[in-house]
Symmetry: C4
């Protein structure tokens, strides 16, 4: 395989589709949200994307079978205004140029389905444990910025200071060049831990924006578990407790 390759299922007809990208990144926030949506909505897989820009790696499943690392596209036919395309995956590109190529592929798909808008989901790492849940935004046009502010998304001048790196950033940047509306929703998170609580915050905003309902029980449960871990970490920080060997800590990624 010397080129990015797409395996396609039957192409669905979608109504005013919106593309949601949730590839792995800071705190796995985007990935948690997108995978949760696929699960809860029962979205149907319509594409697998393989690429030499991903690491040369297979993942071993529960039953001992393997599968090549990949990105996947799911489709969900909604009863609301917008059908959804949801992009999830094991990895982002392992190379610089690969990011540009793959995001180009994602935008080709967006154009093929005439998506009205793209939401790129991610985390915004602040380097310390986060008390309150908040969602930072960035968008590739000012109209979108204004619209998202109404939903409580925060926009701060020049933040993140280092820009947005990787697929979420490039989808917005390359999307602008093609005239595709795209916004990034970033759950504020420590950046140290997989953060289902931050994912919940992002999902709440997304549900409001898309006027859909997604059951959050599973995510809440994971968030509650994580809360316990965070509480312990705080204790340890304050009381100089020795690190626990509690099994719960195995979730720390």
């Amino acid at each position: 395989m010397i080129k990015t390759t797409i395996l396609r299922g039957k192409k669905p007809r979608l109504k005013n589709p919106v593309l949601i990208e949730g590839l792995p990144g800071v705190g796995h926030v985007g990935k948690l949200v997108a995978e949760h949506m696929v699960e809860e909505l029962g979205a149907k897989k319509i594409m697998e994307i393989y690429s030499p820009h991903f690491p040369p790696q297979v993942i071993v499943e529960d039953d001992g079978t393997i599968r090549l690392v990949r990105n996947e596209l799911f489709a969900y036919k909604s009863k609301g205004k917008h059908d959804l395309l949801i992009l999830v995956g094991d990895h982002q590109s392992a190379t610089n140029e690969g990011h540009y190529e793959l995001c180009g592929v994602f935008l080709d798909i967006a154009e093929e389905f005439k998506v009205e808008r793209i939401y790129a989901l991610g985390g915004y790492g602040v380097g310390q444990l986060v008390e309150t849940e908040s969602v930072m935004g960035a968008a590739n046009n000012i109209k979108l910025v204004k619209e998202l502010k109404k939903y409580g998304v925060e926009f701060k001048a020049n933040e993140p200071a280092g820009g947005i790196v990787g697929a979420s950033g490039l989808i917005l940047g390359l999307g602008e060049l093609r005239g595709i509306d795209a916004a990034c929703l970033m759950g504020v998170t420590s950046g140290y831990l997989v953060d289902p609580k931050s994912a919940q915050a992002v999902l709440k905003v997304l549900c409001k924006v898309l006027e859909i309902d997604v059951d959050m029980a599973a995510l809440e449960e994971r968030a509650a578990e994580m809360e316990k871990i965070v509480a312990k970490l705080r204790e340890m920080e304050q009381g100089q407790m020795p690190p626990t060997t509690d099994e719960d800590l195995r979730y720390i990624g």
Copy 2:
């Protein structure tokens, strides 16, 4: 040379061929098994594979001549059910994309010879000295998993946790996309030492699976030597002995 290049000898006619891959990796387990088989079975070289994805390096032979680093394919006409193709080599790809390209080349060869199955051999590093010999498996379809379990191959959910990286993994993953049955046999090993004992364990399974006999004396001898080293390492670990300067330790790779 700007492309992967194959030098071909005369193409043999093979009966129900099976491809065995034993490139360098964890504990050099796969390499030890495959090179031992080539040696003991008197397999005949039929291809040399050169690639700009290998390191820019030549190896100096005993007589002062050199040869470019490469992968080699050997053929063995068996009296049993399956003739064998055995892939060995000095290196795996040095780059990400190179892994995808080279494994594509290996699968082209598998298709050219209409191989029935591929066994990718490797080591499974557990980070500590290993007492009992065991062979972990992974496969690109569930039928193969079931079949291999009968031969004592162990399958554990999601292990190796980090997936299988490099040629052995990709051959299974890319093989699946092409509909080629492929399984990985991984000798459990410390990961710190070249491990002929683990290689022996893998070879035993492979001989049963393929219904062939391979003389193991040479491998047993190397394994016995290594056992002595391991015994010394254990002593040192337990008794806090100072590291020996014994010549035997020169084998530690």
Copy 3:
């Protein structure tokens, strides 16, 4: 996007144009000069250059919108002898080969506009705080060296000892192969700090060479601010003062 891509505005007619390159580099000297010129002269943007050789990154603007990292070309119609093309940008290439490709693109543009000469601006890092302002030069032909010496530009045998790395160097080197006159003007700087004072020194030389006037007030102001910081650093060096937490230090890049 798998290739370097240029978005073009209307092509201006330019009189004896000179190209000025000020991409990010040592002490951001070149970038400071070129961006200051664009600002003060009111130069007009005529091209945006995007490339997979840049980092996969977008920059967040003041209003929450983003833009893909890029290089930009501005044109300025002068009342003097030479119209100007000014090349600025967020990044240089992130890869070796990318530098060669992008500088080839810059020289294609230079040839398209039949530029008479290129000035590549940069910093020359000496590893310690610099008292006096001086500008080092290098050029791709001896006539240019002689001419620039008249303007006080210093040339020292084999300096910088490590050669000139990146866009400024390659524009001269590849320019020579195409027969395009090009010189590098390097403000001597510590290399530790963004250095507007050094930028001022380079701009003064450039104004004399091009026989143009550029208001330096903004640059002087930034230089004055930086002077204060440098003074503090000196004090700290000499008096072993503990590092200050003064807000002014936030400018140190």
Copy 4:
């Protein structure tokens, strides 16, 4: 520039030409020998080789002009049996694949001139100061090994143990695939210092092999200077003398 590019002067007619490669490497031994030969023999430059696989860098000359890093080919019409082609340069490839591509280019040139043999010159780093001068060899066929042994070149089984990495190795390895005789002559050297004494040892062998005379005065002078430095280093090693600040040490590269 996105491809390796050759600028050619007038092509000379050469008699039984031999190609000598002396690119930078361990102890700069090969480079010292080849550049010394170009100088002393008054060889004439016939090609310049530029490549995006070299670092993106220009070198500043004595007069303030620059030149792009490159490799150069010189031709020398001898009165003896063999005319010479001598390959020197500022750098080897900065990338893996680049090594393969560039050595392919060198071999294209060798074939274009129908060279009878290639001598790739280099250093063999042993990690400690070297008392006696000796030259290690490797070749891409056994006849060459036997021939070179007569000239005192030493061949040891599997040495260098790590193989020969870079241009010298690849020229032999890729040369073998094309049926071009090639040998590597490696001056034994510490690997820590630029080593003109080791270069002298290599040059002596090469002069005998090629039946030519090359004045060695300049190289002897540099070797004598280096000897003084080495003597001091030895003293320091033995007597635990504090490091000298003697100006002679400036040559240590």
